[in-house]
């Protein structure tokens, strides 16, 4: 394998120096280069480095493991969080009732029973930044981010406040470099997705849960002790038919793509197939459950297939079918290429990815390898052609300046201020990948401010009274020698009346990070 890669590389890199190609790979497969990393990857061999990144289990990551221990969110499983969420919800309801009875709502405001879940959401964002900045398994972090965005779930929607951690940890991360089909099925079964796109509420028309049996606990749950008002509200809230949301986004966003050639009737049939895919109540851990009573047992016809009274297996069969469709391969491959190659990726790399997909039945590693060995990935048009997303910008700046991300929400808030609050995209499309989504005047000014802020903590550049040496050092450490002569001369000019070397460093680093060269990757 390595020999093939080296030959491919030799044939396709007439213009890029080993260092330039290492920097390019670090910009796309990683969150930018740490100081000196372009050189070390070039010495190691860029294709060898790419192979290692494709096999992250053999890359040791001790420092990150130590840092992850600070995140208590990793100690909770979904059932823990579900229990805490249920307690918080009850506490809030109790406070609401008290407030209603006493006419005093100030106590309610001060108590903030849901505060813990807001904090957990913040912790999840910080964890994403720490991992992206520090992990030695950079490609894995990049591809986790890609799939998290492809299968977007909005953390702010109700139960997703507590369902998201397990979605990231158990659904996405273990499968990010596995097979697409497994990832697709896992997201379909994930409580986070079932809640986010409302499938948990999708039931066959005229279906109803079986009557409650026995225990005091169940009687309570099913309303024997309810106030009439509560009972009415509960009955009103009970779902009464199919919900098409998941079915629609499954076809349009997760698999076939908007041009995938399906109809509204197909969406309805798909929704019927997924009726009954739901979530256990919080007191039982909020896990996946297939509710037989809610499943539409009638015949469904979609994409030339017939599904008939086969319970949950209908959905699994459909997902496997979708994962193997050419439209899906093309749609997802094109999106991967937009991420790794260019905003408007050339056909060559997409075709290479689709071919690898077909050959390996959707092995994500093989698809990625096909993209990274395509001539388009290494073409002069691709290099430095993409604008960093806010997340990529902040993390790459942190890496370049050698700043150790701390355990405060500071960096996560910075990413949010630049327009990409993590896990907070309400639309199932996820965040956009192209520069048109991220570049606007207000956002650019915000990036400049962010750059000046990060520059103050810069640890990778020693203060230097010689401004020419300082700027050269910044060029090497932050931009692997790719700083434009224009940028260099503007920074030097700005330094002329700055005598304090520490101030000069902060200004020069800030201009370099906030300037146009560093926005690109």
């Amino acid at each position: 394998m390595h020999l093939v890669l080296v030959l491919v590389l030799a044939a396709q890199l007439p213009t890029l120096t080993p260092r330039d190609s290492a920097f390019h790979a670090l910009n796309r497969l990683a969150y930018g280069a740490r100081p000196g990393e372009a050189d070390s990857v070039a010495r190691f061999g860029v294709m060898r480095w790419i192979e290692r990144q494709l096999d992250p289990d053999h890359v040791s990551d001790d420092h990150l493991r130590d840092r992850e221990r600070e995140f208590k969110i990793l100690d909770y499983n979904r059932a823990d969080l579900a229990g805490r969420y249920r307690d918080a919800t009850r506490e809030r309801q109790r406070l609401q009732r008290e407030a209603a009875a006493s006419g005093d709502s100030t106590r309610m405001r001060n108590a903030r029973p849901m505060q813990e879940f807001r904090e957990l959401g913040g912790e999840l964002q910080q964890l994403a930044i720490v991992r992206a900045a520090l992990s030695e398994r950079q490609l894995r972090e990049v591809i986790v981010d890609f799939w998290t965005n492809h299968f977007n779930v909005f953390v702010g929607k109700g139960a997703d406040r507590f369902l998201l951690p397990s979605y990231i940890e158990q659904t996405i991360r273990p499968r990010a470099l596995g097979r697409f089909e497994d990832l697709l099925i896992a997201t379909a079964e994930s409580p986070a997705m079932l809640f986010y796109l409302d499938n948990a509420q999708s039931v066959a028309p005229r279906s109803a849960p079986p009557p409650p049996r026995g225990s005091f606990f169940l009687r309570r749950r099913f309303g024997m002790n309810e106030m009439p008002d509560e009972r009415r509200q509960r009955l009103q809230r009970r779902p009464t038919g199919i919900n098409e949301n998941y079915a629609r986004e499954l076809l349009e966003l997760h698999t076939l793509g908007v041009d995938g050639g399906y109809t509204q009737q197909d969406i309805i049939e798909v929704a019927r197939i997924f009726t009954g895919w739901s979530i256990e109540p919080p007191e039982r851990g909020s896990g996946f459950v297939f509710r037989d009573w809610a499943h539409d047992r009638g015949e469904k016809h979609v994409f030339g297939l017939t599904f008939n009274d086969d319970g949950k297996d209908e959905g699994i069969r459909l997902l496997k079918f979708l994962a193997s469709q050419h439209a899906t391969m093309h749609h997802v491959s094109a999106k991967l290429c937009a991420r790794f190659v260019a905003d408007e990726p050339p056909d060559g790399c997409i075709d290479a990815a689709v071919a690898a997909w077909q050959k390996t039945r959707g092995d994500i590693r093989a698809v990625l390898r096909a993209i990274f060995t395509s001539p388009e990935f290494w073409s002069a048009q691709a290099v430095r052609s993409k604008v960093k997303t806010p997340f990529e910008f902040v993390v790459s700046a942190v890496r370049a300046t050698g700043v150790e991300p701390d355990d405060t929400p500071r960096l996560a808030q910075l990413v949010a201020r630049l327009g990409e609050p993590l896990y907070q995209q309400p639309a199932p499309t996820g965040y956009g990948e192209t520069e048109a989504h991220w570049v606007n005047s207000g956002a650019l000014l915000a990036r400049m401010n962010a750059a000046m802020g990060i520059a103050k903590d810069c640890a990778s550049i020693p203060a230097n009274e010689d401004h020419a040496q300082l700027v050269d050092m910044i060029d090497q450490q932050l931009l692997a020698g790719t700083m434009s002569t224009h940028t260099k001369s503007v920074i030097l000019e700005q330094l002329t009346d700055v005598s304090d070397p520490v101030q000069a460093r902060a200004l020069a680093v800030g201009l370099a990070l906030g300037g146009p060269d560093f926005q690109k990757q």
């Binding site: 609401q96 009732r97 407030a99 209603a100 006419g103 709502s105 309610m108 909005f154 929607k157 106030m227 008002d229 509560e230 509200q233 009103q236 949301n245 629609r248 349009e252 966003l253 793509g257 908007v258 041009d259 094109a334 999106k335 408007e344 990726p345 604008v387 949010a416 201020r417 327009g419 609050p421 309400p426 639309a427 199932p428 499309t429 956009g432 990948e433 192209t434 520069e435 048109a436 570049v439 606007n440 005047s441 207000g442 956002a443 650019l444 000014l445 400049m448 401010n449 000046m452 434009s484 224009h486 940028t487 503007v490 700005q494 201009l511 906030g514 300037g515 146009p516 926005q519 690109k520």
Partner: protein, 418 residues
């Protein structure tokens, strides 16, 4: 099939393809050339306030002539004696009293029973639909205000054309047309406390990006620095509202003050957008006094102050309030209301056909309700937004602003004076 075309087709229907042929930066560069330093002060302006959380339209514009209203809300109905009567059937919540003079001079209208054709009672979905302008379709990438800006480019000669007040660009303004998110006018630009140092740093970045050649980075940064310069000339720190005008304390008052300031600075503002939250009154909503009353008081005072501050300038300004849905007709067990369907919106300003409650009132009787519990929607929100875009801002192609739907003049409620 390129990514961009896919996004365009998905988000905007046919006409958006034109943008794919027309690189954004070229379009922007073309508009950036030859901008006048000061914009004419007679262009129409739309200011939108989003009441996030679903305002109770029935307690905002009270149907006090409707016995069912009092039957269903024994604890939270606004007593007829407290309502500021408008037309014998509807009246303002007493906390909106400061707006009565606008009603009397025919520059305030209410639109009742307005909402989405989609029946969702999720804040998240309903807000999303109201901002994307495509109820029922979740995957629309951009917002309707941005799509308006994409297609009516006549005014695209200023970085201040479309401004959202807040830390981030809201969904309604998301998209490929340039728009600004401003959290605080005085803090817009580079954050350096000392003015001389700030100017110097601004020039340095400006020079850096001047060398960035063409492309979106270059054109957007130019727009940004232009906006900074225009604001510097307008000098927001020196702004004083018109004599005797006092905006209420709080975020809403501050935001409306800044919008008034931008309008008076003649920087070319066409669309301003801001959020105002706190309307999700499930518990202890109150009636003439209480929780909702306090929010409405702030809203009423802020709108009245804005109106007085702008004075004669209101002749070409329309302020529109919107909210994702209304609330249940019947009060709940916690002296509040739950998520409902239709709500009410307010439109005020010189061009508004004021002094009336617009839209067909469906009534509150059981059989007149949506799903037996909520006010039915008789006006699709796209018809009101479309009317304002067409008759106030002069939009020519509503089909591209609201893909899959063409608001028709026959459906317009008549919010804008002919």
């Amino acid at each position: 099939m390129t990514i961009s075309r896919r996004i365009f087709v998905k988000s905007g229907g046919l006409a958006l393809v034109s943008l794919g042929l027309d690189p954004l930066f070229l379009v922007r560069a073309a508009f950036a050339a030859g901008r006048p330093a000061v914009m004419p002060s007679d262009r129409p302006i739309l200011v939108c306030l989003f009441q996030r959380g679903a305002v109770d339209g029935l307690n905002m514009i009270v149907p006090h002539g409707e016995p069912a209203y009092y039957q269903e809300r024994p604890r939270i109905a606004v007593p007829a004696a407290d309502v500021v009567d408008l037309d014998g059937h509807f009246g303002l919540h007493p906390s909106l009293g400061p707006l009565k003079e606008l009603w009397d001079n025919k520059s305030l209208a209410a639109i009742h029973a307005i909402g989405s054709p989609d029946g969702t009672r999720s804040h998240f979905d309903a807000q999303d639909y109201m901002e994307s302008g495509t109820p029922g379709v979740k995957s629309t990438g951009d917002g309707w205000m941005n799509r308006y800006c994409q297609h009516d480019r006549e005014h695209e000669d200023t970085p201040f054309r479309a401004v959202a007040f807040g830390p981030q660009l809201p969904r309604i303004l998301a998209g490929s047309a340039p728009s600004l998110a401003i959290d605080d006018l005085q803090a817009f630009g580079l954050r350096v406390p000392q003015e001389a140092a700030r100017d110097k740093l601004t020039r340095a970045f400006e020079e850096l990006y001047d060398g960035a050649g063409t492309g979106l980075l270059a054109s957007s940064s130019r727009e940004g620095f232009e906006a900074v310069q225009m604001l510097k000339r307008a000098d927001p720190s020196q702004y004083r509202p018109a004599a005797g005008v006092e905006y209420p304390q709080g975020r809403l008052g501050k935001t409306l003050l800044q919008i008034a300031q931008l309008i008076k600075a003649d920087v070319g503002l066409e669309i301003a957008f801001a959020d105002c939250s706190g309307w999700d009154t499930h518990v202890n909503q109150g009636s003439s006094e209480g929780q909702l009353s306090a929010r409405l008081r702030e809203l009423g005072l802020a709108l009245a102050a804005f109106n007085h501050d702008l004075g004669e300038r209101m002749r070409n300004v329309v302020v529109l309030t919107m909210s994702e849905f209304g609330r249940t007709i019947r009060e709940n067990g916690n002296s509040g209301t739950d998520h409902g369907h239709a709500t009410a919106m307010l439109a005020l300003g010189g061009p508004v056909n004021g002094g009336r409650v617009l839209g067909r009132w469906p009534g509150l009787a059981l059989e007149q309700r949506f799903e037996g519990r909520d006010v039915a929607v008789t006006t699709d929100f796209r018809d009101l937004f479309g009317e304002i875009l067409a008759r106030h801002l002069g939009a020519t192609d509503l089909g591209t602003v609201f893909p899959g739907y063409t608001p028709s003049p026959a459906q317009f409620v008549g919010a804008i004076r002919a």
